[in-house]
Assembly symmetry: C2
């Protein structure tokens, strides 16, 4: 697979972003320490990967927290768990060779020695390299699988998406539109409202920070919401849940609007809404669905190359940008998928 890759200068040392104190909420720069050491080498059954694009993802908040979650907490003093797009430098694994591009759990560091289990995807589709960190990264693939498998949208359905311009939501809206849904996006600024309408093709976009969200959702979805793809939780969820159509599906893909779960936050009870509206409310974690990953990438790459889909990347450069990147994400300061180029 010949590919134009950036002409990067290969670092001679391995810089790493270590998690050195445990955050209770969103990780801030003070929770990390930048460190530099020798380039490690691959043992038997391992690969040496050099990272090119580091990924910044909302899920990292959970990975850094010392609270039961769907994955073990990042050990204190270790490199921050992160996805990245990289190139294999040395392989002691059959089926992988130097020069292969890969996407996986390589951490916030220049070099990673990993077992093949850390690789989520072999970057084989003919799309831009950084797209393996967004469209064909967990963001786009989450959108594809969760929307199709749990949201089960039908043509003519009203699909409402929170963080509609975000790294997952922007794909959800566009996939829904390609399936014939009426798409309604919720987002946090007027600039993102424009992005939703102009870049991501939403039929309606609503700034949830201004105006009366309940009235605006009701106007946008007069027959009720058939599929709510929720990345925020919190009061936005409370409002939308009460405007679901009978038989509606809620996909819980994130809880970005809730800053901390300790102490346990409260909200209106939902069991009666679930019952009387006959909702199906499901949680989605991409790592349960790895068997469907490659097919989802194929489908997404096709949508891109057919011009049915756009993506936005918020690219920074230099590993020094990493420690503040999660906080920026939760503050809504990014535009599109947040990546850090360290080539």
């Amino acid at each position: 697979m010949p590919r134009d890759i950036p002409a990067f200068s290969r670092p001679k040392r391995n810089r790493r972003v270590l998690l050195t104190t445990r955050p209770t909420g969103v990780p801030e720069p003070g929770h990390f320490t930048l460190d530099e050491g020798e380039i490690p080498s691959a043992g038997d059954g391992e690969l040496l990967v050099r990272n090119i694009y580091l990924s910044v993802d909302p899920a990292q908040r959970g990975w850094a927290a010392d609270v039961a979650n769907y994955s073990e907490p990042v050990p204190l003093g270790g490199p921050m768990r992160a996805l990245a797009v990289g190139i294999v430098i040395a392989s002691r694994v059959e089926g992988y060779a130097a020069g292969d591009f890969v996407y996986g759990f390589f951490g916030w560091q220049d070099y990673a020695v990993v077992a093949p289990a850390a690789i989520l995807h072999r970057c084989a589709q003919d799309i831009p390299l950084e797209a393996f960190g967004s469209l064909c990264g967990i963001n786009g693939v989450t959108a594809w699988i969760a929307l199709n498998q749990l949201g089960r949208p039908k043509a003519g359905d009203t699909l409402l998406v929170s963080t509609a311009a975000g790294s997952v939501g922007s794909f959800v809206g566009q996939i829904g539109r390609s399936l014939g849904c009426r798409t309604v996006g919720l987002t946090g600024s007027d600039a993102k409202v424009s992005q939703c309408l102009n870049t991501f093709g939403y039929d309606v976009a609503i700034n949830y920070r201004t105006g009366d969200l309940q009235a605006e959702v009701s106007r946008a979805a007069p027959q009720g919401v058939n599929v709510y793809y929720d990345n925020t939780g919190g009061t936005i969820l409370d409002t939308v849940l009460r405007q679901m159509a009978v038989g509606g599906r809620i996909v819980q893909c994130g809880t970005a609007s809730v800053q901390t779960w300790v102490p346990q936050p409260t909200g209106p009870r939902n069991e009666r809404e679930i019952l009387t509206r006959r909702l199906v409310w499901s949680g989605f974690v991409i790592f349960d669905h790895m068997a469907a990953y490659a097919d989802a990438c194929e489908a997404l790459a096709k949508l891109l190359t057919k011009g049915k889909l756009s993506y936005l990347t918020d690219m920074k450069a230099g590993i020094e940008a990493a420690p503040r990147a999660i906080a920026d994400l939760y503050a809504g300061r990014n535009t599109g998928k947040s990546l850090i180029y360290i080539g």
Copy 2:
């Protein structure tokens, strides 16, 4: 279908239990007025049904309330909406004849003139007549369809049921047991704990009013709860939801523990639990599933006649018992399915 029916004296007048004031919570005797009038007659396309067993159901709280629900509120001054088992006295509908036993929405009254749409089931199975108001009434059929379609229990799963000795829960537990589940029942008294263990075959039964519910559920379901069949909502739901196994299913079939929804009650936020445990939380209302009714009755009748299942009936007599019956139900004063014999 020859059948031994009770030797009832046919009333000469039609007594009716009218809803005369609108309850905000559980309907109490004061919300009803007993009235007596002429026996109505069936017009074209109608049947005259004489009720034999009046049904008392938790759903009647919702039917009586003036709040958006899955059905229209009972009109003030009209007979209380209710299910009943009755016998056709006169038919002006093809396919029905005098002497047919039927189960449907015939109201709390001696006689009802109804269209065929009011009939949920023609009582054809060879089981006791009153069982069409419980096992093959909406209670048993709800348990069968909701557990199988939404709960999707597998052999070896831990199935937890709230109101485990109740008119729906008792069937859920027994059906789950017949499918090879480990069954755990939550109930509100030590007497009902015994019933759960001795009559309904639960592996474990817990009195949720005494002791530490969280610790007891944890002991009963050390690997987590795979299927939670919830008839209560409220704090019991809060506790169990946090002990669901990854991939668990919650069937929301009732919210009996929440006395009123005005003002909106609050509780701990659940979106993070749904997400991280990848739960599927679904609402079930039997009236969406009428196409599956007859098959469910066949299956339930078979379980009964094969000795795989018991049912308890809390039988009262006389239409005067109706006005206080819903309140008794919500106070947990009934044992098994509440029916009122008015033959």
